[in-house]
Symmetry: C2
Subunit: 325 residues, 2 copies
DNA sequence: CGGAGTTGTGAAAAGGATTCCATCATGTGC
DNA sequence: GCACATGATGGAATCCTTTTCACAACTCCG
């Protein structure tokens, strides 16, 4: 049915070895033969069977990506980066959504292991023992989770919240609330580190939560923030921040006149909210690209498997303003 | 390095054929042998090499999905459905983002062809000739594009806009604007069909566009809608509708008091907007699941490859209200 | 008790590509 | 003109699994 290397060999009047070489190591075969073989291959529409190639080379030219939740736009944007970079490197992408479940993540890594050269594991919810289990199966690059002695791409989460704190302090805020994300989240712990900066400004920080990283949690939190008497709020992520914004609008609290709101991730909808949301841009798409590069470096046993955290940047929009007097 | 079927056979003191049977056709091997083999396989952590299996069975247990743009939340939600259903059926998912480019789509199908049993092609931008090119390569199920005599999962786009028109008419609107999506879009043509319903209500419909299906286009369109004197607007999709909402807020036009806004897709952010967006729910996730079912039916040469359009439903929220008097 | 039918297992082929090794023809240097 | 290096090509082994075919042992029946 499908055209194989044998068909091409027969049609071109050469051996299969020559066809293989003509296509993948052109310098080993005479100019004229190469041209003939390639022409025949083209005419027949020959495409090498990657599974067969993978069997012998041990390389599949596939890469796996596991994300916790496709519904949060941060991950699709990261995925887009992975996708684009993978294609440039002639690799295909396997995708799995772990539904924020560490056990599933582990299972997915195992399931992918044989079909991919490596896996990009995003914001892993895995526990240490689960992690141990999969580490030997296949090369893994972590995104947004630092695992000792393992390649990873991390964003400067702490730096991001630090910038947010500086920004709010400069606007005169003396009391901010932080809406914690899930307790198991590595990024949440990192983001909290950045909040220590508040001491330097003599700013009070009230911790609320932990919350699920969802819109509804943001709505719920908004009332708590008001009750706490804070004039600004930093949310674990943009989706929650949008929930805060929505609830404040519902209660008639003007933003930013009475309350400033900061999110995290810079998902596209942050810019589309009314008022547009001030947020920390973690460079998700860039992180996706970097993860692919790192993985390819790991596979080629090149250097470049440990790189500094990606810089994050505060994007100031309309949802933050001077503290109310 | 990795443990193969040979290792298991040796360790269990049987032939490789027996191991293969013990694992995949258990009824063919004696109870006792089966148990021993399985125990050994388990102990050694044996996992069959899917590439090798695929080589001989011709089945890879992989499925490809091609979406036009991961940045639009409609597609991730569909993808999530595909993902979930595929996992239930023990299939893995290859993903590619075509960046709304027909030529890329065709290339991606070809690239995937050998590694997957079938491809789910979403809202294809391919031209007819491009389509011809890939149709023979691999079984394809289309989502949201009807191709004659080809399996597809389609949503009732026309029915959705029809419901939107009925809804607006019931609210007393006499003049609505429709914001067209890309000219090449099959779904845009379908959605327009639903607008004919307006005649029955004696409602005037002003066509604007075509626009790119983006937030910015919605902002741009909002001013045109106001200038046209319409009291309601139906946008090609939610992302555009959110743009309209944002621009109207900016210009101080109250929604829905002076203008009603309807979107399409029911992306999660539609519910999170202020005011919450009335929109047509196309059941993206369900469509994703249905596409997997259809594809599996095609592969098994079962029936069920042609199914009626998924019902769409208008979700009424706060962005639509009685026409201004 | 012998032949037919079952049942459980092993040997070997097949699937499509890569790559090592061998072969052959040519070209170079002495 | 011969030995040897070089370059182009073919043959065969290999990757790992499934599956066909063959075989042996056993049961059952006439």
């Amino acid at each position: 049915m499908a055209v194989t290397i044998q068909d091409v060999a027969k049609a071109a009047g050469v051996s299969v070895s020559t066809v293989s070489r003509a296509l993948s190591s052109p310098e080993m075969v005479r100019e004229e033969t190469r041209a003939r073989v390639r022409a025949v291959a083209e005419r027949l529409g020959y495409r090498p069977n990657l599974a067969a190639r993978g069997l012998i080379t041990g390389r599949t030219a596939n890469l796996g990506v596991i994300v916790p939740d496709l519904t949060n736009p941060f991950f699709p944007s990261m995925l887009k980066g992975v996708q684009a970079r993978a294609r440039e490197a002639a690799h295909a992408v396997f995708l799995a959504d772990s539904q924020e479940d560490g056990a599933q993540e582990a299972g997915l890594v195992a399931a992918m292991a044989k079909q991919v050269d490596g896996v990009i594991l995003c914001a892993s919810r895995m526990t240490e023992p689960q992690l141990e289990e999969v580490l030997g199966l296949v090369p893994i690059v972590f995104i947004n989770r630092a695992v000792p002695a393992r390649p990873s791409v991390i964003m400067d989460n702490a730096g991001g919240t630090r910038q947010a704190v500086d920004h709010l302090a400069a606007l005169g805020h003396r009391h901010a609330a932080y809406l914690n994300g899930p307790r198991s989240s590595w990024t949440n712990r990192e983001r909290r580190k950045g909040l220590r900066r508040a001491e330097r400004h003599g700013m009070k920080v009230t911790h609320l939560g932990p919350f699920a990283p969802r819109f509804e949690a943001g709505q719920q939190a908004a009332d708590l923030v008001l009750a706490a008497g804070a004039t600004a709020v930093i949310a674990y992520n943009d989706v929650m921040a949008l929930g805060v914004l929505a609830r404040l609008a519902e209660r008639g609290v003007p933003v930013p006149a009475r309350m400033s709101v900061v999110g995290c991730d810079d998902i596209s909808f942050a810019a589309m909210a009314t008022p547009a949301l001030t947020t920390v841009d973690l460079r998700g798409e860039q992180a996706g690209r970097a993860a692919v590069d790192t993985l390819l470096n790991v596979l080629a046993e090149r250097d470049g498997t440990r790189r500094p955290a990606l810089e994050s940047a505060l994007i100031v929009r309309a949802s933050t303003g001077p503290a109310p007097t």
